[in-house]
Symmetry: C2
Amino acid sequence: MSTRPRNDTFLRALLRQPVDHTPVWVMRQAGRYLPEYNQTRARAGGFMDLCRSPALATEVTLQPLGRFRLDAAILFSDILTIPDAMGLGLYFAEGEGPRFERPLREEWEIRDLQAPDPQEHLGYVLEAVSEIRRALAGEVPLIGFSGSPFTLACYMIDGAGGGNFERTRAMLYSRPDLLHRVLQVNCEAVTRYLNAQIQAGAQAVMVFDTWGGLLSGPAFREFSLAYLEQVLAGLIRVQDGEVVPRVVFTKGGAQWLEGLASIGADALGLDWTCDLGLARGRVGQQVALQGNLDPAVLLSNPEEVKRQVARVLADFGHGTGHVFNLGHGVSQHTPPENVAALVEAVLELSPAYHRPLAD
Amino acid sequence: MSTRPRNDTFLRALLRQPVDHTPVWVMRQAGRYLPEYNQTRARAGGFMDLCRSPALATEVTLQPLGRFRLDAAILFSDILTIPDAMGLGLYFAEGEGPRFERPLREEWEIRDLQAPDPQEHLGYVLEAVSEIRRALAGEVPLIGFSGSPFTLACYMIDGAGGGNFERTRAMLYSRPDLLHRVLQVNCEAVTRYLNAQIQAGAQAVMVFDTWGGLLSGPAFREFSLAYLEQVLAGLIRVQDGEVVPRVVFTKGGAQWLEGLASIGADALGLDWTCDLGLARGRVGQQVALQGNLDPAVLLSNPEEVKRQVARVLADFGHGTGHVFNLGHGVSQHTPPENVAALVEAVLELSPAYHRPLAD
C-alpha cells in the first residue's frame, strides 16, 4: 500500500494545508445520471448486486473519474450496508428508496442487536475498497464512508424513509433507553466498519448524518452528535504513515455548526441552504468545509453552472480549507455536461483564491 | 361583526402585549387524529368536499375547541386552494399528499396565469370564514391562512410533493424569469385571498412558507422572502377597529430569522429544530415567536408531554411574545389525550412566566 496519492489536493484541503486549487468531487458522482453507470447496473441486476460485486463496484467508482478531472474517488456502496449485515434485510423497491424487510419492532430485537464483524459480514465492501485503491494506482485519494449511528437507526426503526421517521422520533421521547441501545450498537458498528475501510485502503472517511437535521437542538446533541463524537474518537488516525481525515455531514445541520466543529472532525459537509461564508466565519478556524452548491443548479445549463460555482468560491473566499462539492447528492436528471462545466469552472476559477494575497 | 374576542390572549401575545398565560393552539388541530373529524370527513366524501362545504368546515374547525382549552381557532382549509382556483385541478390520491392534474408545464401556461378573484372563485372559503366566525360567538379569535407564493409555486410547477420540488428548483436556475412570473401572480393572489378572509372575519392571518427552507440563502431572499414581504405590505392592517396580526412560518428557516423578522410580520412560526431561546435573542425585540414543540413528543405519553412543554416554555423564558404551538402539524397518529396534556401543561405552567419579576 503506497502512501500519498500524486494528487493530494483533497487531503491537504481537508487538513487546511496550502493548495494550488480548490479540490472538487461530487456526492453520488458515480450514479444514475451517467449512461455508463446505468449500463453496468443493468448488467449487475439490482443496486445491491452492484454493491456486492467488488469488480463492478470498482468499475462504477472509476467511471466519473474517466469523464471529469475530479480530485477524489468515493467508494461505491450504500449507507445501509451495516443494518443489512445485522440481518434486517435491505432491499430497494422499484422507484423507491431503501427499505428493510425486518425493521426493529420488538424490544427483544433491540436487546439482541449486535455490531457486525466487518471482515465476516461486510467483506464485499472491504474487497471493493482494496480493489478500487489498486485501480486508482496512486492517482487520487479514495474516500470511505458510512451512515451515522442516528441515520442508520432511522431506517432500522422506521423500516423506510418518506415519513419523516416518525417511529424513530416517537421512540426518542417514549423509550429513549431503547433508542440509546440501538445507537450504542450502531456506534460500535460504524467505528469498526470505517476502521476496516481505512485498513483496506480508504484515505479519508465521511460520515453521512443524513437525518440528524430532523431533530430538535437538544435531541440532536443527545442522539446524534454524542454518537458521532464517539465514532470519531474510535477511528484510526494515522494509517501507513498518513493522517486519515474525517468529514461529517449533517444535512440540515447549519444551526449546529459550532457543536459539529468540536467533536474531532477535520471537515464538515454543508448542505446548500447554508451560507458558506457565514459558516467559515463561525467554524473556519477549527475545521475545513465541504460543499455546497445547490444540486438543482446542475439541472440548468453550463453558463449558469459556472456563474453559481463562482458564487460558491467567492462565498468561501481566499485560502485553503474548502473542498468544492454539491450540498447534496447529484440528481439522476443531471446532464453530465453540467458536471463537466462544474469541474472545469472550479479548476479555472479557484486558483485565484490560493495565490498569495497582494500587499 | 363584533370586535375583540373575550379571550384575546392569542392576539395580545402576537403583538407582544402583556398576557396572563401563554396562548396555545396546535397546527392542524382539526385533523385525522380526532375520531370526530374522521366521522365528519367520511360523511363529506373526500378532503376537498370537506373544505368546500362551509357547514362541514365549520363543524371540524370547532371540534378541537370542544375538547381542549385552546386560545385560537384556525380556518379548516387547504394551503392549495389558490392554484386550484387558477384551474390546476387539485386532488388527493389515497394515502398521498396533494397533487395537481394540470401542473404548469408550458411557457404559455405561465404567461396566461391569472390571480383568481376570491369572491368569484374562492367563495366557499370566505363563507366558511364567516360561518366559523359566527359560530365562535366572540369566544376566541379565528386565524385565516394561505400558502406562501413560493410554496404554492412548488406544487404548481412540480405537480406534487415528495421529490424535493426538483422542477421548481431547476426553473429557478434555468428560467428565473418564468419562476418570477409565477411568484408575482401568486403574490397578488395570496394578498387578495388573505384580505378577503380578513374582511370575512379572520382576526389574524398566517402564511405557510412550507418549502422556503429548500432554498439556498440568496435564492430564499430572492424567490421567497421578497414575495412574502410584498404580500405583507398589501394586507389590511386594521379591520373593524382592530389590528390584524400576521404570522409567517418558514419551515427550515432558522438560519434566516433576521431576514424574516424584517418584512412586516408580527410573529414568526418556528419549526422544532430551532432553539426558541436563541431565536428570541436574535429577533425577539422585533417579532413574537410561535412554536415549537417537536410533534413527535405527542406520540409519547402525558408525563413526557408535560416535561417537554416545560422545556419549551423555559426556553422562551419570561414575558410576552410567545404563542405555544407545535413546530409542525400534529401527526395523525397522535393520541388525543396527549394534546389534552399539552394544553393543560401550558395553562398550568405558563402563568409563572407572565407574573411580574421579583426585584
